[in-house]
Structure formats: structure tokens, C-alpha cells
């Protein structure tokens, strides 16, 4: 038995060697800094160092939960992420399927590039683009509203529009990137399936439902579980730059990251930032475990572990 195991290890050795740079990177970048989590439970004293500083229990976490904002920011973070994960994935998969149906190679490439361009734009630029549409005095949308005899809308201080604006901006900016993975797994489906289905007289919709979707299911599940792991994190650029950090909108735009930034901007408190990051990681970890358990129950072969 042991001989067999050893034999297998030797056989796999070249692969381990190939993986070595990646493993070293993971250890240096992801595992070694883990000791920094200690900082979240300490009051930093640089003369004693991180290990020597005094323990303060959960004191550093208090600022996250010390006001009623705590509920708002956690709710915003999680709900936006759920919307992004569920609706976002659905839209990305749909676009990937549509893209795959475009027969002209040239046009397919063109559309994919157009979809990808916003992903390459910085959030600051995106914020000015949004501002060009939403500004009260000179913004495009208000100008159109005025032209048709409507009233100006004060976008940057009216909360009710922002969940939609943020979702729209997020999709506009990110969908081109998200669909790459789905598109590539659709492209890799053997053309024979589709040919056979066509001969049997299946319509396009039937082909998508019975061939494409089942075959990319495991890719979708993997991506969703991975995204769930970051459910307590948010895209700082989206939530800080696009609403231009307008206080009037905090009720619907402030997420954990933005709150931490606003609260700690002035005092560089590493311990409290570490506490926020630990909190986000723990929530993300719990979500991954739960999601994986659910998937395991429903379709075992698609679970991550």
C-alpha cells in the first residue's frame, strides 16, 4: 500500500514541481500574512510589535457595531452582492449564449470587445461619466426631462433610484469580463451535440435548455460559490466613486468597505481596519461553507469540497 502511494507520488512529482511557483506564491501572499489577523484583537504598540502588543479582545470590532449604521452597511453589502451574484450571473450567461450564436466571427469579436471596454475604464472616470448623465444643472437626463417639460430630479440626494443605478453601472462595467469564462466554456462544448439536435429537429431554445445550460452548470456553480466567499466585501470604487460619496445617499450606497474608509480615513488605525477585514473574511467563509453544503445535497458532483 505504502509502496503504491510512494510510486504515485513519484509519478506526480513533475506536476508538483510545475505547481511549485504557484504554491510558493500562495504561501507568501495568502498564508504568511494570516498572522496579521492577530492585530484585530490587539492594541498596536509599535515598540512591542504585533506579537507583543496587548490583547484587547473584541474592542476593535466595536466601531463596526457601535451605531445603528451597522445594520444598514451589512444589509447593503449582502443584498447588493446577492443581486450581483444571482442577476449578474444570469445576465452574463445569457449574453454569453447570445454571443455564441453570432455566426460572423468578426462581429462576435467586435461585440465582445465593446462589452469588455468598460471593464478597463477606471472607477474615477466611470464616476464622471455617470455624473455627466446625472448632474442636476447640466446633466443629460435632467436636460431631457426639462425639454419634455418635466421636473429636475436631484439624483445625488434621492435614495430610491440608487439601487438601480448602482446595479446598472456594475453590470455595464463588469459584464464583459464576467461572460468571458461562460463564453469559453460554451465554445468548448462539442459541436456534434448541436448538430445531432438540429437533425432531430430541436429548436434553438430547446438546444439552449437541454444542451448548453446543463453543460455549463458546473462552471456556473463554481463561480457562484467563489463569489459567495466575497459576499461581505464590496467593490469600493463602485460604492464610493459612483455616488460621489454623497452623504444623503449613504442609506442605500454605504457598504462595509466604504464605512471603514470613511470612519478610519483620518486616523490610520491598522487594528480597526484589520478587525473589519477579519469580520468580512469570517462572513465570507461561513457563506462558502453553507453554499457548498447546499450544493452537495442537490448535486454532489458539483460541490467544491
Amino acid at each position: 500500500m505504502t509502496a503504491k502511494k510512494k510510486n504515485r507520488f513519484v509519478q506526480c512529482l513533475p506536476f508538483y514541481l510545475m505547481a511549485l511557483p504557484g504554491i510558493i506564491y500562495l504561501i507568501c501572499n495568502n498564508f504568511m500574512p494570516l498572522y496579521g489577523m492577530l492585530l484585530a484583537f490587539k492594541r498596536l504598540d509599535v515598540r512591542k510589535g504585533i506579537f507583543g502588543s496587548d490583547w484587547v479582545g473584541f474592542d476593535n470590532f466595536k466601531f463596526l457595531f457601535s451605531s445603528k449604521t451597522a445594520f444598514t452597511i451589512i444589509r447593503n453589502t449582502i443584498l447588493y452582492n446577492l443581486a450581483f451574484i444571482i442577476l449578474g450571473t444570469a445576465i452574463a450567461v445569457a449574453l454569453a449564449i447570445l454571443l455564441n450564436e453570432i455566426r460572423s466571427k468578426k462581429f462576435a469579436k467586435f461585440y465582445q470587445s465593446v462589452l469588455l471596454i468598460p471593464y478597463l475604464i477606471s472607477w474615477v472616470l466611470a464616476s464622471y461619466l455617470a455624473y455627466a448623465f446625472l448632474a442636476q444643472d447640466v446633466g443629460l437626463i435632467n436636460s431631457v426631462l426639462r425639454f419634455f417639460g418635466g421636473q429636475n430630479i436631484n439624483w445625488y440626494s434621492t435614495q430610491k433610484y440608487w439601487p438601480f443605478i448602482l446595479f446598472f453601472v456594475y453590470m455595464w462595467k463588469g459584464v464583459g469580463y464576467m461572460l468571458i469564462i461562460y463564453y469559453s466554456s460554451i465554445v468548448s462544448i462539442s459541436a456534434e451535440y448541436f448538430e445531432a439536435a438540429t437533425i432531430d429537429g430541436a429548436t434553438k431554445w430547446q438546444q439552449i435548455k437541454s444542451i448548453t445550460l446543463p453543460l455549463i452548470k458546473s462552471t456556473v456553480i463554481t463561480m457562484v460559490i467563489l463569489n459567495l466567499g466575497r459576499i461581505a466585501n464590496s467593490d469600493f470604487g463602485l460604492f464610493y466613486q459612483i455616488p460621489r460619496n454623497s452623504g444623503a445617499l449613504y442609506g442605500v450606497t454605504q457598504t462595509i468597505d466604504v464605512y471603514v474608509y470613511n470612519a478610519l480615513m483620518n486616523n490610520n488605525d491598522f487594528a480597526m481596519s484589520a478587525a473589519a477585514a477579519v469580520f468580512q473574511s469570517v462572513v465570507g467563509f461561513v457563506f462558502i461553507l453553507v453554499a457548498n453544503a447546499v450544493v452537495k445535497r442537490v448535486s454532489k458532483q458539483d460541490a467544491l469540497f
Binding site: 466595536k62 466601531f63 451605531s67 444643472d137 436631484n154 445625488y156 440626494s157 460621489r244 483620518n266
Partner: protein
């Protein structure tokens, strides 16, 4: 086999050679190389080495110190310093830069034990600093411990409306810059401008971060806007209050709401990120409410340059000094400093009255004569008025102090168009202003960090909306106040009052 031996011998020889080559010969004498931060606005100085050399020529003989200057952009300073000290990088003299607006503070570092207490060093080596600073000295203390030495700079500011002179003339107004007017006088001008110009023109250049309430209603914020304050600039009363819940603030909010409804303020104000000089350049605005001396009496001149037009100052509150306003730049010695004595001795030199030929503070703030500046006028006591050398300006100069933090900044060279009379005014400024009763006091927030973060978030949420009048005061203000209380402001005010009373008792 032979080959192998030869190659290993060669390798060994090479390694030894490298080691020998890289070893720096130890300094024969015991000159101390002092690493000092200098602050930039993001540009790189090509003349940095010349400046270091010129300083070394003075300091090496005199106190046995040479300097290495470490340029850091003003906005990177707090995080760069904190990271460097945490990772035990050597800095000997570090700059804390609150810029009169709480952008940074001593407590950011002292609560993490990053700074050396300076009391003994100061007593032994800081005699000239002590003579130069006067009242300002208090700014460096937290309780009884001295953690930093402030630069000698404007301790106070006045509250004013600055307006484009050309627009005022067109409207038929003129103001005396030395007189104290009332807000009603300012309102008259704003109304006239709006009436003359109409839609698309605004009397007040407002932007999201520019809270005007502290200008309309001056307070002493006791070192942090989130910990309670003394009303009326702290000149009369020492009762710590929640300023947002006072009648004075209520009146100011109503006033601004009226400005907004009258169309003096751009309805987009809370999403405008340009600052007032940029807005004035567009020609769609009349002026702005500012703390006049926030960047010095000479600050108006700098602003006139960036706006490109003459500005008129209309003052409506006398110049007053508080801890926050006076804290501009401070020098601290972090725990990573290897020779604190020499560092303090060097710092002391920056506050001495010296001839130009051996004046380190002048070199640090203006560079070298003939290379970065030329002398326009020399005053009787050796102070000089200078101008940039031909073909060079503020941003292209091979070296420029940019930020007034180098020792006695009320005497270091000033640039034209400041004249002799104005320079005297600058040098005497701190003797002519009123000081808050709590001047030098700052709340020790060590045990309240969590609440203060929560309060800061509430301030962020409501400040801009209320301060620019974009919302109805009656419905939003009570909500704002109740959230402040929920975040723990009342407890902090109580603790603050206790600390302040104790501090006041100790002052006597």
C-alpha cells in the same frame, strides 16, 4: 573533477570580492546622518542633492549632523509615516501635517507608541525653539508629555467672504480689508450678484468638502470635529457643547438654506469636487466663504495666482486662534530615531535667528540663492523677500519648500508681491490675535476611538446636505442630532469637559 574545484574556487573568490566591494567603509568621525521627511505636492525636486549639500556644509561642522531629505507628498504623509515606523524603518525627524484642518494629529501616532516623549530633550536642546514659539508651544503637548514641536506659523484665522474684485466693482461695492463687517453686508452683495447675473450664476462657490458653517459660526473644536466644541471661537466660555444642537448653528443652517433657495448656491453642490479657486476661474461664481489665514496672510496671494484675478476679503469675525487652526505642521521624533539628542539639536537650529549664509530653515523652505530664488529686498534684521529665478515658477522650481513647516516660518523668506510692511505684519501676526481659552488643549480620545469613528460617519452623512442648504432644516436637523447622540456624542462631551476642566486648572 579538476574543473569542479577550479569553478568552486572561482565562485568563492567572486563572492568574497562582492562582499568586499559592497561593504561601506565605516565613518571615521561620528557624524550622524539624519533622515528627515520633507513635504511636497507630488513633484520631484531635481535640486534635492544640492540642497542637502548646502545644509550639510552648515550642520556638519556645527553639530556633527548631515541630512538625508525624504520627499513625501502631503496626502501620503500619514500612511507613509505609520507604515514606516511600524516596519521599523529609520526616520529621525518626521512631520505631522494637520494643515489647520485636522488632516492628521499627534494622537494618530502617540496612541500606538510611535513617538518619543520630548520633554527632557526639549529642555536640554530646545532653548531657541522655546523662545521662538511662545503660546504655540502648547500644541505639541498631550497632557504633560511633549510629543512634537510645532512650526512657528499662523496661529489664527479670520472668517471671511472672498470675492472677485472685478465683480464687486461692476456691482458698485467696495470693502476695506481691515474692517470687520457683518454677514448682512455680505448677503447684500450676494443678492446683487444673483440679480445682475441670473440663472447659471451663483454667488457662493460651494463644493462638497467645503463646509461653510464653521466659517459662519466660529467654534473651537478642541482638536477634533467629532468631540464637542466651545462656541464663539472659545473666546468667552469653556462649556463643551454639541455645536450642532445650539441656537447659533440652527440659525446658520437656516441662513444657508435661504441662500440655497435664493439660488446663491449651485444645486449640484454636494457632488462638486473642485475646490473654490477652480470654481471661481469658471466665471460663474462671485466668491467663497473661507477661513482667511488657513494658508497664511500670504495664502490669499497664492489663491489670487491660481484664480488669476484680484480677490477682495470681506471679514466678518475677528481673527481667533484654536488648537485645530494653529496646528499646521509639527515635528516629532519617532521611536525609530537612532540619535534623538542630535536630532533635537538640529531641529533647534531651524528656530534660531540666523544670517542667511547659515540659515538652514531658509534653505529648507526656499532652496538656494541663484538656483531657485533671487533676493528682491533685504530687511534690516536680515529677513529677505525673494522671487523665483527667471524662467522658473512654483511648480517647476528645482526645489521649493511648498509647505510652511520648516521651523520659524514667520521669518523665513517670503515671495513677492509680499512687501516689507506685510512681512512685518506676518512676523508679528501671532501677537496680534485673540486666543481661545482652550488654546493648546486637545481631547485625549484614546478610550473613545470606536465612538468617534461612528460619529465621524454620522457627520459625513449629514454635514454636506445641511451645510449647503440642500435639505429642509426642520426635518433633517433633529434626525442628525439624534443620530449623533445615538453614536455616543454625549458621553464624549462629558469626558471632554472633565479633561478640559482639569487642563484649565493645570494651566494656572
Amino acid at each position: 573533477m579538476n574543473k569542479k574545484i577550479v569553478s568552486s574556487v572561482l565562485t568563492a573568490a567572486m563572492t568574497l570580492g562582492l562582499a568586499a566591494g559592497s561593504a561601506v567603509p565605516a565613518m571615521a568621525d561620528d557624524t550622524f546622518n539624519l533622515k528627515m521627511q520633507i513635504v511636497t505636492f507630488g513633484q520631484e525636486f531635481s535640486g534635492l542633492e544640492d540642497v542637502e549639500e548646502a545644509i550639510n556644509a552648515i550642520t556638519e561642522d556645527e553639530i556633527g549632523v548631515t541630512v538625508t531629505l525624504d520627499p513625501i507628498a502631503a496626502w501620503d504623509l500619514p500612511s507613509t509615516s505609520a507604515l514606516a515606523i511600524t516596519s521599523n524603518e529609520e526616520i529621525d525627524l518626521m512631520c505631522i501635517l494637520p494643515m489647520g484642518s485636522n488632516m492628521d494629529s499627534i494622537s494618530n501616532y502617540s496612541t500606538k507608541n510611535m513617538l518619543l516623549p520630548l520633554n527632557d530633550l526639549y529642555e536640554e536642546y530646545g532653548q531657541d525653539i522655546h523662545e521662538c514659539l511662545g503660546e504655540l508651544e502648547k500644541l505639541g503637548y498631550t497632557g504633560e508629555t511633549m510629543y512634537a514641536v510645532p512650526a512657528n506659523y499662523y496661529a489664527a484665522h479670520g472668517c471671511s467672504f472672498v470675492a472677485l474684485t472685478s465683480e464687486l466693482e461692476e456691482l458698485g461695492f467696495s470693502f476695506d480689508e481691515n474692517q470687520i463687517y457683518t454677514l448682512e453686508d455680505v448677503e447684500e452683495v450676494m443678492a446683487a450678484y444673483k440679480e445682475a447675473k441670473g440663472d447659471g450664476y451663483y454667488s457662493i462657490a460651494g463644493y462638497a468638502d467645503g463646509d461653510i458653517i464653521p466659517i459662519l459660526c466660529p467654534t473651537d473644536d478642541l482638536g477634533d470635529p467629532a468631540v464637542g466644541s466651545l462656541m464663539n471661537g472659545g473666546l468667552e466660555d469653556t462649556t463643551v457643547v454639541n455645536r450642532f444642537a445650539t441656537d447659533e448653528y440652527r440659525e446658520a443652517y437656516d441662513r444657508v438654506r435661504e441662500y440655497y433657495n435664493n439660488g446663491y448656491i449651485n444645486p449640484d453642490v454636494i457632488s462638486i469636487t473642485d475646490t473654490w479657486p477652480t470654481l471661481l476661474q469658471t466665471g460663474h461664481y462671485l466668491g467663497a466663504f473661507i477661513g482667511t489665514n488657513a494658508s497664511g496672510l500670504d495664502g490669499i496671494l497664492v489663491n489670487e495666482q491660481s484664480v488669476g484675478q484680484d480677490l477682495t476679503i470681506i471679514r466678518f469675525f475677528e481673527d481667533f486662534a484654536t488648537t485645530s487652526i494653529a496646528s499646521y505642521g509639527l515635528w516629532a521624533i519617532p521611536v525609530t530615531c537612532s540619535e534623538p539628542e542630535k536630532t533635537m539639536e538640529f531641529l533647534n537650529m531651524l528656530y534660531q535667528k540666523r544670517d542667511l549664509s547659515e540659515n538652514v530653515a531658509a534653505i529648507l523652505s526656499c532652496g538656494l540663492e541663484g538656483e531657485t530664488y533671487q533676493i528682491v529686498e533685504t530687511l534690516d534684521d536680515g529677513r529677505i523677500i525673494v522671487d523665483y529665478v527667471d524662467g522658473v515658477d512654483r511648480m517647476t522650481s528645482p526645489y521649493g519648500g511648498q509647505v510652511p513647516i520648516y521651523g520659524d516660518e514667520l521669518r523665513t523668506p517670503k515671495y513677492t508681491p509680499i512687501d516689507a510692511e506685510m512681512f512685518d505684519e506676518i512676523s508679528n501676526y501671532n501677537n496680534t490675535v485673540k486666543y481661545s481659552k482652550a488654546f493648546g488643549y486637545a481631547f485625549d480620545a484614546t478610550n473613545y476611538v470606536g465612538q468617534i469613528s461612528a460619529i465621524n460617519n454620522v457627520l459625513q452623512t449629514y454635514r454636506a446636505q445641511l451645510a449647503w442648504g440642500t435639505v429642509d432644516v426642520d426635518s433633517v436637523l433633529p434626525q442628525f442630532i439624534s443620530e449623533l447622540e445615538a453614536a455616543g456624542l454625549d458621553q464624549i462631551i462629558e469626558a471632554n469637559q472633565e479633561q478640559l476642566d482639569e487642563w484649565l486648572a493645570n494651566q494656572e
